[in-house]
Symmetry: C2
Subunit: 260 residues, 2 copies
């Protein structure tokens, strides 16, 4: 199915599931259900945390909760909706510390950090597109909380939404880069350093450094600075500083910090 997109199922059914409305899995007639939506979703989250969304199969979820594969389809309409439920569930469980009293920079930094931690715990989230987000209690709580970090900055509501989207988009992009760096290491038995080391001599044979002088110079400098490999942590720190400086210009008043 890949290209995981939330919000692809029937809205009514999906919303009812997200808010755990009764009325779909609890008729009087027939045998009682042996499981619950929550059990299924929890098992799926655990599996996805280690195997990713592609490694997560309906068969593996069924095995984890000890039913036949097709029994899952009485709890959840399909894999797409299951992913919606997983996403809203982890949103709901996010830590939401009070963010008042600090500077807006530290408030937004905290929001970014919390989201970064979420991607760290649940890397599969980075693969879910939320063009149509799961409109469940988790997303609502998360949205409400994160918006509150923008209080008192003199931004209008539309700008607040834009700014939050911008911040979260950055964190997701940084997380994706970090995750795929990690994934490359894991399934190639070659570290990034080894990979670059393996490529360097071969590349030297075909690569004419007079044809690409800037690339050769900058690439070498960047490679030396963080050990011949893309460094996700550094990219996140650099990027977050830029994001905050960019928002500072929007917010006004505050001075942008230079530095790296």
């Amino acid at each position: 199915m890949p290209a995981y997109r939330s919000g692809s199922g029937d809205p009514a059914r999906t919303l009812a599931l997200l808010w755990r409305e009764p009325g779909f899995g609890q008729s009087a007639r027939g045998p009682k259900q042996g499981l619950s939506v929550d059990r299924v979703v929890d098992a799926a989250i655990t599996l996805a945390d280690t195997a990713g969304l592609d490694g997560l199969s309906m068969r593996s979820v069924a095995r984890a909760v000890d039913v036949s594969t097709m029994a899952l389809y009485t709890y959840v309409p399909g894999k797409a909706e299951l992913v919606d439920l997983m996403l809203d569930a982890v949103y709901l469980r996010m830590e939401r510390l009070p963010v008042d009293r600090q500077s807006w920079r530290s408030r937004l930094t905290a929001i970014a950090e919390q989201n970064r931690a979420l991607f760290d715990m649940h890397p599969w989230i980075a693969d879910v597109s939320t063009a149509r987000p799961p409109l469940g209690p988790g997303l609502m709580a998360k949205y409400e909380y994160e918006l509150s970090a923008f209080n008192g900055l003199g931004l209008d509501d539309v700008a607040i939404d834009d700014a939050l989207t911008y911040l979260l988009t950055f964190v997701q992009a940084a997380a994706r880069a970090a995750i795929s760096t990690r994934a490359s290491q894991l399934d190639s038995t070659m570290s990034d350093e080894q990979w670059w080391a393996a490529n360097a001599p071969l590349l030297a044979r075909v690569f004419d450094s007079t044809a690409y002088p800037t690339a050769a110079r900058v690439g070498t400098a960047a490679g030396a600075a963080h050990g011949s490999a893309y460094h996700p942590d550094h990219a996140y720190q650099f990027g977050l500083a830029r994001v905050l400086d960019g928002l500072a210009a929007l917010i006004g008043g505050q001075q942008a910090s230079a530095g790296r």
Copy 2:
């Protein structure tokens, strides 16, 4: 295979392919090859442009170039390496207009626009992680060109690389959002507006707007501002302005533009 990552094959073989080094598909003995790597790569790009990387199968490529599926494996070690070749090929074909003389803001805006156009023509690129990029002539030319936009800004080489990575990461993230928005529309027979319209009354039943006052207010305002739907163009414009303002703080001297 999903979770497309470049640079996952044998470095020597992949590099030889990227630079089209002779020595792999041209021994004297036996029948001549009926195709070329380029023909295969071109066919694959054409298919991926309309069907995406998941819709691109070795079988469909083979059909397009009129050979059996397995014949492809004499040109290319597997799908992963094929994607590497596709990526480097489209990089190589990018337009590279001279960027001198203008302000750095318009130079970086041009880089961003060119990459945005690339994602628009080849949406599948947004699905490829480049933690280990295809070290071919296309990437080299692109990197060389894009670095040149940072000339004369007083940044050191490491900062230039960081800044470019930051800019490109933003464009990719914005492109992903735009692409998945488009994809949602395409395969659900429901426009974003219709989707939100379908959800709104149902959501009203379960959603307690006193529990999430800020979310209700801001969500309503944002929805009204761009028609109840996520608006990728607006997010890109807003984000790019922020990215440039953020880099302005790093570069110094120039004044950041406020405004939306």
